[in-house]
Symmetry: C2
Subunit: 454 residues, 2 copies
């Protein structure tokens, strides 16, 4: 789905002709989120070129909307002075994240060109642990002294406003930077110019802690309908704020994670922020194999139930004892894949035109998962079926093939759904499980027929 099919060819021409001024004109007055969208729709190189030539202020705001890998690609080759100017304009939380992704030497070169206070601010924000409030907060807020009059406070804000992300809320701090209260701009406007800030400030405050889980802070913003939440360190000093738009992003990631978990893919702090394409396959396999192994063991118990009831049907053949294990494993692998793809589509990381790239990746994952489970299945059958090698080989090969097949179905069906305008989330785990059940049996008996020549 190319969101801007018409303007891409025009832009491409401008890039090839090196018409930098025209490119800048093209994006003048456009919302940075929209510019980022166009950039993401172009080929990787073209997008990087556009981002690199944008006027300074627009470039710095677009940086917040493009993916972290692209930020690094664009800043790496930049002249250090120019890179420092870019960091100066960027939002405080995003530039700290960027610095964490750059080479340490490179960071030193760039930061040298910034004022000491700004350098320290970047270093401090970059030092907080991933996943905490500290790692997502910004230091770009306005503070007020409690003894100022409303008139003085307004003068001060008027002076600071051009450099601040927001002055809609000001944070009142004592000389030790301890948080005393919050003053909405609205209250300053309404109050008498001679009133003092500490007379009109809001005292009941919801606060976050710098080492608090970022989801917990985001949930407070959501629950109390806040515009921003002040973040305090262990000694109650104000060290940053988290704003409502960051909270929304955090909660969105968290909730799409639930889909992953529900599909049977283990999530962990590392995986939380990992876009679909960035995860190393080995990490993906690690997060999926535990559940699959556990479920495999549970399903092998299902086979034992059948074996137990073999008395009921004297004639129950050995092949059918393995049916629940095989179709169960296929369904589970398929559920995992479909949840991964649905999440990727929901976060805009997987595009509907990437079906072959997705398929390749999921086949590779299926190959690794299927090999592990197939070997396990071989030995399982080997033990329970009197060390019959051909029979055990049928079980092992079937598991491998079913994993490959289930991963393909789970990858392709939600993408096709999106292509046909159907919400990919309706491609449910039960649907994939059921699809894989019947076809899995065909695979099973076909392999059995070939190997066992029956």
């Amino acid at each position: 789905m190319l969101r801007n099919p018409l303007l891409v060819p025009d832009l491409r021409e401008l890039i090839q002709a090196g018409e930098i001024a025209a490119i800048r004109d093209f994006f003048a007055d456009q919302h940075p989120a929209h510019v980022a969208e166009v950039i993401e729709d172009m080929d990787e190189d073209e997008g990087d070129t556009i981002l690199a030539v944008l006027p300074d202020r627009l470039q710095s705001s677009v940086m917040s909307y493009v993916d972290p890998e692209r930020q690094v690609r664009v800043v790496e080759p930049m002249d250090p002075v120019k890179a420092a100017a870019l960091l100066h304009l960027m939002s405080h939380d995003d530039r700290a994240d960027l610095v964490n992704r750059l080479d340490e030497d490179r960071v030193d070169q760039i930061l040298r060109h910034l004022a000491q206070a700004e350098r320290e601010d970047i270093r401090r924000l970059a030092s907080y642990e991933e996943g905490t409030a500290g790692a997502v907060m910004t230091t770009d807020y306005a503070t007020l002294n409690p003894n100022l009059t409303v008139r003085e406070a307004l003068d001060r804000l008027r002076h600071e406003a051009p450099d601040r992300e927001t002055i809609d809320y000001s944070f009142v701090v004592d000389p030790g930077h301890r948080l005393l209260g919050i003053v909405p701009l609205k209250r300053l406007i309404m109050a008498s110019p001679r009133a003092r800030v500490d007379e009109i400030m809001q005292l009941d405050m919801i606060v976050g802690r710098v080492d608090e889980d970022q989801e917990s802070v985001a949930r407070k913003i959501d629950k109390y309908d806040l515009y921003a939440i002040p973040v305090l360190d262990a000694s109650d000093m104000l060290v940053g704020i988290v704003t409502h738009d960051d909270a929304m992003d955090i909660l969105r990631r968290e909730q799409t994670e639930d889909i992953l978990a529900f599909g049977g893919v283990a999530t962990d702090a590392e995986a939380d922020d990992e876009p679909y394409w960035q995860g190393k396959l080995i990490g993906v396999v690690r997060r999926r194999i535990n559940w699959l192994l556990m479920l495999f063991l549970a399903e092998s118990f299902t086979g034992n139930v059948l074996r137990f009831f073999q008395g009921v049907e004297k004639s129950m053949p050995d092949l059918s004892l393995y049916v629940p294990l095989l179709i169960g494993t296929g369904g589970n692998a398929g559920s995992q894949t479909v949840s991964t793809i649905i999440r990727g589509l929901a976060l805009g990381e997987v595009m509907p035109n990437q079906v072959f790239r997705v398929l390749r990746r999921e086949l590779l994952t299926g190959l690794m998962l299927g090999t592990i489970l197939g070997i396990l299945g071989f030995f399982y059958a080997w033990i329970f079926r009197g060390q019959n090698r051909p029979f055990s080989a049928v079980i092992g090969m079937t598991i491998l093939c079913i994993c490959l097949w289930a991963n393909s179905v789970g990858a392709v069906v939600p993408i096709l759904a999106r292509k046909f305008g159907i919400d990919p989330a309706v491609v449910s785990a039960p649907l994939i499980t059921t699809l894989v059940d019947a076809t899995g049996l065909v695979i099973y008996f076909t392999i059995a027929k070939m190997v066992l020549r029956i």
Copy 2:
């Protein structure tokens, strides 16, 4: 999980002693979201009593945080004059929703006590279709005339501010109420007092349409990091705004819906806003049976695959032909239930101490679903197994029992997970499917043993 275990007994005493003043004191200066939380933790009657005696302004803000049924219970018996005063103070979008839930006669009695403009505002907001931007927007915003000077604009906002939810952004409209631009309060503060509003207003605006899907509008707020989005009607007139906190709520509901869909429960506009307990069981069954029926038909095809391969294993008995159908149906019903419960837990609608109430509801649902599918299964077996009544009865009864069992497992396991401090979302569809597979076979062969006396 009682979130405020210590204060509940104290409050209970105050309620029983009728100490209204003490109850009011108890909640003075507390955030309305927190007050609502305490109310939801009490017994239903006690919570209603507290809400009814709160001071006017607090009561009106707490209303926005308690569930819609409670709002109705509290307003229904109120004196119309008092109810009108409450509506006057409530946020514009929430009071329109409330009016839609009250008796039409009752609404007439109450609205009579409000000024005509306010009455019309409520009626208009209440008239928009559920699920559209119109139904979630508020009319409580500040407008400015483009010809005002900055000084005049600030005077006007200062005057209006006490009655407005927000003045952080003002909307500039022409005499026909067509939207011309947006002025952040920050710009007004920074601009020269003699500048004109239309010189400093923002012209590039992201807007929503009154009949646009509420999720689409919420996604714009998220994407462009907006504080609020103006909503226009067909003739470009400004009719309301949707704020960031409402957008967050909309996106949260939408994303928990994905869990439902992924579990194989059909979602529709009606179900979107329906808390767990409010849905009529018949509606729940309707939304679940379609998928189950479709998957049932698909799984019966799986049985036919086995039948086709009966040639491979000459001795394959008839009972095992139905294994995939039976355990598949159990897994599907279980996935639906677990997704429903996970969503209820995520939205705070299902509490971990309600396990028996949940179990009762899910058993009833399972009974209805199981009866429908069981009858279908009976006739399916009847046709394919030479009209053998006892054999078909085994299939029908097994389906009924497996549905009841799968619904119980799907209901209890995520709640227990939460009780033991495990994220209920890790109770995945594959886990429930696998749990139900083995136990489903035990149910199957036990019934077969009893009925067929083998």
